[in-house]
Every structure is written in C-alpha cells, then in structure tokens.
C-alpha cells in the first residue's frame, strides 16, 4: 500500500501509456493495428499516427535522459551528443542493408555493435579530454560530431546528404507493418532507461556523480577517482543515446546525416534545461512537451498586422530564443521550479 501511495502518479502514467494505442483507437474508432487490406495491415488512422508520435517522444526522452545523466547529474557538458544518436541509426542502417544476413539477426547484431562502438568512442573521448578542463570535453565532442556529420554527408555508400533508406528492416519491428510492436519496444526502453537512471543516481555511485557536479576538486580530495566516475557516466549516456538513435532511425526507416547534426544536440540540451536540469522527470516533460508542440505547431501560422509568421519555418529560431530565455531567467526548468515551489509551501 505504501508503494502505491508513494508512486501512484508514475503508475498512472505507466498504465496510461501502456494502454494509449487502444485508448486512442477506442476514442476515435480506429484500429490500433492499422487498416486491414487483404492479408496485411496498412498504417492508417488516428491510433497508428499517434503511435508514431509517441515512439518519437520515447526515443527523444531516452536521448534527453541520457544527456541529463551527464549534464544534470555529473556536470559534464557535451556538444556532440547527437554523434551517438546518429551513429546508432547509421550502424543499424548499414547492418540491415549491406550485411546480407537475415534482417532480424542483422538488427540484433546492429544493436550489439552500437553498444560496443558507443562505449569505445565515449571512453576514448573521455580518456583524451577529461583529465583537462571541462571545456575540452565540450570542444572535442563538438568537433568529433561535426567531423562524422561531414563524413556521412559525403559518404557514397549511405547516399550522402539524402541518407540511407532502410528497406530491409525485419518485419516485426517495421513501422509500416507492425507499428504497435515498435511502440511497445520503444516504451520498454523508455521505462527501462527511466528506472535505470533513477536507480543509478540514487545509488552511492550517483552520490559521487552529484559530488563531482558540485565540486570536483573536493570529491577528489575525499579520495574518489573522479575520472572513472565521469567516464562511467559518459559511457552509460553514450550507449543510451545510441539506443535512442536506433529507435528513431527505425521509425524514420532511414539514417540521415542530420541525425548526427548539431540540431539533436541542441534539442537534448534545450529539453533538459526546459524540463529541469538534474531531475528525473524533467527530461521526459521537456522532450514530450517540445516534440508535441513541434508536431502541433508545425503548420501553424500567425498573422500580426501584415506579416505572416510561419511557425514551422522559424521553429529552430524560436527554440533558440526560448533556450536563452530559459537559461537566463528560468534556470531550474519546469520540474525544478515546481519542486522549489512545493518545498517553499511546505515550510
């Protein structure tokens, strides 16, 4: 009973998201599996549309939660987190399209390869730069991400700027055949990441992370090998970002250079800060809120006097403005501000 009383909100959200495809299907009278055409389903109807929106929200949430583990809990700033996000997508694409193996086996191998490669790259960048000032890590991640972005933008194997289309995806996770399965896969990853980060940050290791964020020299003076803890945080975060990238690329059925671009790094920074730096639910609220706003406002237009502003075209610009405003006057984000407000009220 105590468990229920303390966690009723999370349980409610969990059950809600679990039943969401059926709920939307019931409300709008559409089949969550799609529309039957012959012996297969066509992905039409409200339920399947919102499934794809939510899969994207889950992928972005995992990305942002992993970013928050580094930035919010350990105090390490990365400007190239999209590197791991895009890499997951490209590894999956290349394995599925070119390995010549059975699609499902190729996909499973791709997941394993993503984990290995993200771990290795995270370790190498961390080892090369974390002994120096924090700004070196930011510089190196930015530089490496830009280099890989330029590289994949010109690589003939993956069609350069146009990106690699995945036509060989295994049928059970193909979003144009079995979107519901992909939905539950993304949901499982989302829940797992959330619980894992909660467990990690609340553990003694997490306490050291926070100590590093507050004052690294003091954490060192107490006797912790801070480099190892920072490396651990970076490796975990990189691997999670790679996983999020796989889901994102599978949903888009392609791996494109912009997945590696600075846009997704900005998104993760912004969503972390808007939701609340160093909180558990902040990244989810940031990712969900901003992505849903993007989906809903993409075609919106505002007319002020004689000038018409198309929100879709100036979306990134508006995000940038929101970003600076939030950093300056709203630095704790939605969740952080709410927690402060509640703590003040109790007192």
């Amino acid at each position: 009973m105590k468990f229920l009383r303390e966690h009723w909100f999370f349980l409610l959200v969990f059950v809600g998201l679990l039943l969401l495809p059926y709920l939307i299907g019931w409300l709008t009278g559409s089949n969550p599996l799609g529309v039957i055409r012959g012996d297969r389903y066509i992905m039409r109807g409200e339920s399947t549309y919102w499934q794809s929106v939510m899969i994207e929200v889950f992928a972005l949430s995992v990305l942002v939660m992993s970013y928050n583990l580094m930035f919010g809990f350990t105090g390490v700033v990365s400007f190239g987190h999209a590197l791991f996000f895009g890499l997951g997508g490209y590894i999956t694409g290349i394995m599925v399209q070119f390995s010549g193996l059975d699609p499902l086996l190729a996909f499973v191998l791709a997941v394993g390869l993503t984990v290995v490669l993200c771990t290795v790259i995270g370790l190498v960048i961390g080892l090369a730069t974390l002994r120096l000032k924090g700004v070196y890590f930011a510089i190196f991640t930015l530089a490496l991400a830009e280099m890989v972005w330029i590289y994949f933008g010109r690589l003939p194997l993956t069609n350069g700027e146009d990106g690699l289309t995945m036509s060989n995806l295994p049928a059970i996770i193909d979003p144009s055949q079995n979107r519901l399965i992909l939905y539950y896969l993304a949901f499982a990853m989302f829940v797992f990441t959330f619980l894992f980060i909660r467990r990690l940050v609340n553990s003694p290791t997490g306490a050291v992370f926070k100590a590093i964020r507050e004052n690294e020299e003091r954490a060192q003076a107490i006797g912790y090998h801070t480099l190892r803890f920072k490396l651990f945080a970076i490796v975990v975060a990189s691997t999670m970002a790679g996983g999020a990238g796989i889901i994102h690329a599978v949903l888009a059925k392609s791996a494109r250079p912009e997945f590696l671009g600075v846009g997704y790094t900005v998104d993760s920074l912004l969503m972390t800060i808007i939701g609340g730096v160093g909180t558990f639910t902040g990244p989810i609220i940031g990712a969900g809120g901003l992505h849903l706003a993007d989906v809903l406002l993409r075609n919106a237009q505002f007319t002020i006097g004689t000038t018409t502003i198309n929100i879709g075209e100036s979306w990134t610009f508006l995000l940038g403005v929101v970003f600076v405003v939030v950093v300056l006057i709203f630095p704790f984000g939605v969740v952080g501000t709410y927690q402060r407000w509640r703590a003040n009220r109790k007192r």
């Binding site: 700033v77 400007f79 010109r154 900005v266 610009f317 995000l319 600076v324 950093v327 300056l328």
Partner: protein, 349 residues
C-alpha cells in the same frame, strides 16, 4: 620483440615527450611544407600559390581565433558564438555591396563599389561590436556564478544568430558579383596570377598579429589584460575594474571576427556554413596553440591555415576526396595534442 619495442619506443616517447615548443613548430612547418611541395609536384608556381592561400586562411583564422583566445584566457568563457559573428560580418558586407539582390538595400546610397565596400566593412565591425556588448553585458554577466550555463548560453546564442541569418537571407549561398578594383588587380608569381586583394588580406593579417602583440606587451590596457589572464581576482584586488576590461575584450573580439567575415566575403561569399567551419577551425587553432596563449594562437593559425590549404592541394593531386581537407584542422589538433597534451604554448592545467 619486447627489447625491440623498448629500444624504439622509449627514445621515441622521450623525443615527443620532451620536444620544446620551438622544436615541435619547426617539425610541423617542415612536414607541411614538404607535403605542399609534393602535392604541387615540384611546380614552383603551384607551390607558391598553395602557400599564399594557406597564409590567407591563416589571416582569416587569426581574426576569429584571436578574440576566442583572449576571451577564454581572460574570462574562462569559450565563446561558441564567435563563428556566428564571422558569418554576420560576411552577410552584412555582401548585402551592403549588392543592393540589387540584397535584403536591407541600404548600400544603394553609395554608387562607387570601392567606397561602398569600405563602408560595408565598417558597418560590419560596428554591428559586430554592438552585438558583442549585448551578449557580454546583457546575457553573460548574470551568469558569472554559473560557468556551465555560460558555455551553454553562448552555444544557444550561436544557434539564434545562425537561424536569424537563415530567416532573413535564406539558406542559398551568395557569391560575390560586384568586384572591387583591388580584387581584379592581379600580380604574377612564377607565371601564376594571384589577386592583389588576397595579398592585402595576408599582409593585414600579419600586421594585426604583430599589432595586437605590441598592444598586449606595451600599452597599459594590454598589461592589464595580460595580468587578468594570469589572475583576474588579483587584478580586481589591485583596484582595477576587471569587468570593464572583460567587456572591452569581448567587444573587440566580436568586432574582429565580424571584420574577418566582412573582408573574407569578396572571395568566400556568404553561406550559412561559414560560421561552423571557421568556429571549429579556430577552436582547433587555440587548443593546438595552448588555451589562453596569444603566441600559440598566432602561430597556431599559421600552422592550421597552411595545413588546410596544403590538404586541399593534396586532395586535388591525389584524388582522396574533399572530405579530408575539410577535417584538416581537427586532424592537426589531434596530432599536436598527442605529442603535447597542453598545446604548443600551453602550461600545465
């Protein structure tokens, strides 16, 4: 086998570990010039043009990197928006010079293209300086207590500036079509023509390198800046208003980057990717030179500029593709940091 590794590896490690800055620089220059000579297939005219375009790159890199380095040394802020200032300069100079296909159309008042260009450059410098003051005074000052957020903020500002430029001028690159007189004047070197304007930029870049060094060494404000780089708190304790010096250096740095963009526009044009390209290369320059060291920045920009032009020539000669030339600055950085982790002139940090 183990003995072999020890016999080769230990002296090699000792050599790299103990190379002085001068030795490392001499080695780098020798390598770059050697590759440039091979890439131009012994043809003296190609070789000299490669070196000249390398120096041109170096001059432009220096204009962005000098501000970046001084700001970092003094205030511990890596200004990720510096590349955006370069880009703003390029777009303003372009727009001023081409009233017909520009957006702001204020250049029409001056019919003579040479005078118009001069006014355009001054305009770019002024706008860059004003935007610099706004960024430092308005946005960074409230955040001196939270350095992590300062880093994040300059990154956000660079995104805003880039998107703002895209909204106003669109994403299509602009090529310079109204030339200035000095640009069309050519002079010959080993039978190859080279624009006098580019030579002028090289000379001006070197003059600025020396000028800023003299300013830092001899004037009162320069001495204050150098003292601030060493220990800003101590300078405050001596009764000098360090915050005012911060604003001055920040403004000058941004104005310098904007000036660089404006004078580069006649041959680079105005494209949305300018900012990221020059920002990354300049970051490579200042880290390679040693963060916060002025000599390091000056020599680093020459090294990276030459290496960049050399790689471009090399990719033409050997058909390895243009990808490699565009990531040269980062490759140079990795190479130098392997031998000297704190950069050429960097101190232990």
């Amino acid at each position: 086998m183990e003995n072999l590794i020890r016999e080769i590896g230990v002296p090699l490690g000792r050599f790299f570990g103990r190379t002085t800055a001068t030795g490392a620089i001499a080695l780098l220059f020798a390598i770059i010039l050697g590759v440039a000579f091979v890439a131009s297939q012994g043809n003296m005219s190609t070789f000299s043009i490669t070196i000249l375009s390398g120096l041109l790159r170096a001059a432009l890199l220096f204009l962005v990197a000098a501000g970046l380095s001084l700001i970092f040394g003094l205030m511990d802020i890596l200004n990720f928006a510096q590349g955006a200032y370069f880009m703003i300069g390029a777009y303003l100079a372009y727009d001023f010079q081409h009233p017909a296909n520009g957006v702001i159309r204020i250049g029409e008042a001056i019919p003579d293209p040479n005078l118009r260009f001069l006014v355009g450059v001054i305009l770019a410098v002024v706008v860059g300086g004003i935007l610099g003051v706004i960024l430092e005074r308005g946005l960074l000052r409230p955040l001196y207590e939270r350095p992590l957020f300062q880093l994040v903020l300059t990154f956000g500002v660079s995104i805003i500036m880039l998107e703002f430029i895209k909204l106003i001028w669109g994403t299509t690159p602009y090529a310079w079509t109204v030339p200035i007189t000095i640009q069309t004047t050519q002079f010959e070197i080993f039978g190859q023509g080279f624009s006098a304007y580019r030579l002028f930029i090289i000379v001006m870049g070197i003059a600025l390198m020396i000028g800023v060094a003299l300013l830092l060494r001899n004037t009162r404000i320069g001495i204050t800046i150098r003292a601030g780089v060493e220990d800003a708190e101590m300078v405050t304790a001596l009764g000098i208003n360090v915050r005012a010096v911060f604003t001055l250096v920040f403004t000058l740095g941004c104005a310098l980057a904007s000036f660089g963009g404006a004078v580069a526009a006649p041959f680079l044009g105005a494209t949305p990717s300018l900012g990221a390209t020059y920002l990354l290369a300049s970051i490579a320059v200042i880290v390679l030179g040693g963060l916060g060291s002025y000599e390091g920045t000056a020599i680093g920009s020459i090294i990276v500029g030459l290496a960049w032009a050399t790689m471009e020539q090399f990719s033409l000669f050997s058909n390895i593709g243009t990808v490699w030339s565009s990531i040269t600055p980062m490759l140079m950085l990795a190479l130098v940091l392997l031998a000297r982790p704190n950069g050429l002139f960097g101190e232990e940090r």
